[in-house]
Symmetry: C2
Subunit: 326 residues, 2 copies
């Protein structure tokens, strides 16, 4: 991880639908303490805010840093965040709608808080401290249950009119294709996320296609986690390889479109699926980009794996907070 300059020690929080991940960093972005706790959104908004405050206090204690030394708190939430009001607009994962999360956490912590969409901040984290370092423009794509993304143009996150900028997962790559969670059809997420891969694998199993997945599923509570996919793929299981390569190819096609349209310098690909299988899937993505992007546009573009793992959002939140203090 590359070091950066911050206006003081910082707190970074990654609020997800199931976990809260908190880091405390020194003024160079070095992680002094990190903690994970459950988010429990079913207990209501106030309870989640309190759990974040408690987690932050505990991380401070572990880091041996006094609260008054902290310059600011950065927060990533699974929702578009209105940058003027600090309101989280809509989060299906948390069951939130128009929650003034910045004001609420500021009240709890007594520290300045700056929030943004989690995937935007993951992209910013990779851009500043991870695999995007040195680039001016970058696209981040994170493949897990869904597909999230973020776009950096001229060293700044692109947020757009309604704070929805960066929704790479909802580019339409197969018109009239499979139904997406967003109720549209043929989005990248509907053909290349783990959810889409699972749908296609289960269909294959249902149709009696020979595959070692049946056996692997029995050993893992019948859940197609990234680890299971990785095992089957590495064994050369034909069904798994075919389905996952097709997903990676669609990801490459969408990436090629983005490279042609944005003239992007670097593409960072992360998330559970690529953490487990990036060494085998990235070449498939690169090949599809090579086939579908302009030679001129793709010349010198790096398509690289994410480096910060599950710390990307919390570290990006720290960077975001520092930028807001500038």
């Amino acid at each position: 991880m590359k070091k950066i300059d911050l206006p003081g020690p910082m707190i970074g929080i990654d609020l997800g639908g199931t976990k809260i991940f908190t880091v405390v960093t020194d003024t160079r972005g070095k992680v002094l303490a990190a903690a994970k706790t459950e988010s429990r959104p079913e207990k209501g908004v106030d309870a989640v805010i309190k759990r974040m405050a408690v987690a932050a206090q505990a991380a401070l204690k572990e880091a041996g840093i006094k609260k008054k030394k902290i310059a600011a708190v950065g927060l990533g939430v699974p929702s578009p965040v209105d940058q003027k009001t600090g309101v989280a607009m809509l989060s299906p994962n948390l069951g939130w709608k128009k929650v003034p999360v910045v004001r609420m956490l500021t009240d709890q912590l007594g520290l300045p808080v700056f929030a943004d969409n989690d995937v935007n901040l993951g992209t910013l984290g990779e851009f500043t401290m991870g695999a995007g370092r040195g680039a001016r423009d970058l696209v981040g794509v994170f493949v897990g249950t869904g597909i999230g993304g973020g776009i950096v143009v001229n060293r700044r996150l692109l947020r757009g009119l309604n704070s929805t900028g960066g929704e790479v997962g909802h580019m339409i790559v197969v018109p009239d294709g499979p139904l997406c969670g967003c109720s549209n059809r043929g989005c990248l997420e509907a053909v290349a996320s783990r959810t889409a891969i699972t749908r296609d694998l289960l269909a294959g199993i249902g149709h009696g296609v020979p595959t070692c997945l049946r056996e692997l599923l029995r050993d893992s509570d019948n859940k197609l986690r990234s680890g299971v996919l990785s095992k089957a793929y590495r064994r050369g299981d034909l069904l798994t390889v075919e389905v996952m390569n097709r997903a990676a190819r669609y990801l490459g096609i969408a990436t090629a479109s983005l490279i042609n349209v944005l003239g992007t310098e670097r593409v960072v690909i992360g998330g559970g699926v690529f953490e487990a299988l990036g060494d085998l899937l990235l070449p498939v993505v690169r090949q599809a980009v090579h086939e579908h992007a302009f030679d001129t546009a793709a010349d010198g573009v790096g398509i690289v794996p994410a480096r910060l793992g599950d710390r990307a959002v919390a570290l990006g939140a720290v960077v975001h907070a520092a930028q807001c203090l500038e």
Copy 2:
């Protein structure tokens, strides 16, 4: 056309594969003189540069402005232009490869020259003086023989790593779809440009589909110009309506992807096809956007017709030159 503030009277040149269009403006961007001449690229680079210089001198004379009063010359060329060196990288239309067009025209005119890709400048023209005025972020799409585009982010043209930014026509909308002029398959240009529309209409005619196009073609040298398409569409010709609505729908799907990814505030659609039929095709585009974009992302996004017609590039060139002087 909206007025702007310029550092002095300016010259704007739109160099195309067949025509050179030149304007002289006053300090508010008002066109004092406009002239069209042939570009004749087959005569070689030097001859084209000279024809531009002669056209500029003639326009100055018509405008009654002395050359020494001119603050700068803006130039749009059908090629990516390296902004550091002023070299036009590659233009199939002109048969140019790495032509130092800025230096050459500066030598001829004895005035500062600033060049960029023509469609980028058309977008900048619409953004500053036409249908994009008042927006912060904008996508311009121009549908003619091909499909060109430009993207404005934070009031600046997005050029990207290899000066290819804005190539909206080469988003992949139908994986493994029809062959595109760029040698890729399924690009927007391959399914929604006039070239694609013509291909599909001729296929329909070849298959004996009933259509009034046969008769209209006889009256117009067998060429499917935008005017012919417009006549057939307005008569309700089923083949023409089906083919053109499908093209407009693909344009809407690509636009929806861009809105989701960029959070764009306004989309300006122009070019020959939409100048002839925008009143009937824009609603089809809007409907496809409505069906395919996130509600949150599309909320408040305007999809509007271009306003500057064939002056967009020359006027955008003037704006570009003024920005370069800043």
